[in-house]
Subunit: 161 residues, 2 copies
Amino acid sequence: MMGRMDTQSPWLDDDQQALWQALLTVVIALPAALDRQLQRDAGISNFEYGVLAQLSMADEATMRLSDLARVSDSSQPRLSKVMDRFEARDWVARRPDPEDGRYTLAALTEAGRQKLAESAPEHVAQVRRLVFDPLSAAQRRHLTPALTRIAATVRRELEGG
Amino acid sequence: MMGRMDTQSPWLDDDQQALWQALLTVVIALPAALDRQLQRDAGISNFEYGVLAQLSMADEATMRLSDLARVSDSSQPRLSKVMDRFEARDWVARRPDPEDGRYTLAALTEAGRQKLAESAPEHVAQVRRLVFDPLSAAQRRHLTPALTRIAATVRRELEGG
DNA sequence: TGAAATGAGTTGCCCAGGCAAGTAATCCCG
DNA sequence: CGGGATTACTTGCCTGGGCAACTCATTTCA
């Protein structure tokens, strides 16, 4: 008898609906708001900013493309095209990994580091205004583990397919 | 004396960084995961699903395009093109608002309602798996008001520009 | 009342990203 | 040691969305 389960009806109740609606707005509108500021002030997207930031945090500011794609939540084709643009502007340099020729290493150049440093302050201010300022200290504390769990689940979903 | 304020350094501390990183993964990867399921099972995007769902909840399943754009967190051009696709598939019908010829009313057709009904169960299941299942009851309770605040702030940002 | 201003919606152009197919390097295993 | 799998990355094709410019309806106000 495979009727629907009691604890998991196929619909969302009102509380769940409220959470879901708020999350939907955040995932749709927040990237748009971040993109707008960054595009205006720095000519790059939020996603591109994230790639630069991840790379800058790596040892020697150098990473394998596949690792960079993973931490940036990017597909490989998408990252590949971002790298084309970055290389054209001399923000990164690609070279084959001497340890294994299948991998490609991406290294942030000095110009790339500078671009990131220039763009950071206004971007961080925007993140503060949109995300941190509206929250109480308690809300921030509660939010982190909850979002981390969702993030981990979503990551698994995209990798596992 | 307009130096930087003590309580608002231009950088994120470690706790903030953790929250921000988790939120970034969610806003980038969650739509991708939702899109993948919906595209595979229903041939529509998460965004399009949201538009259908919003319209279905309206009185008479009819709304002005500008209102529909607002509740769907959409620009007008974007919604306009979604409507082109929907009308081509006979999921919605557009007609001028008799009360004010500048507005356009969009009404969900029977076929549109059916498409939504067909797509809903798997989509809701995916939302459950990715968002609700990983959270404890307490986390869900805390999450809702926090996300609602961020959502409201981001909405204002995009409208006010 | 009529010309300018406002507001809703659409269109065209351009670019970014997904997917599937292609290339290249390495590994596996007889 | 050699040919087929596996893994990393790139390329081409197509679609979706942003922006700016346009059209059309309504309001404002001189």
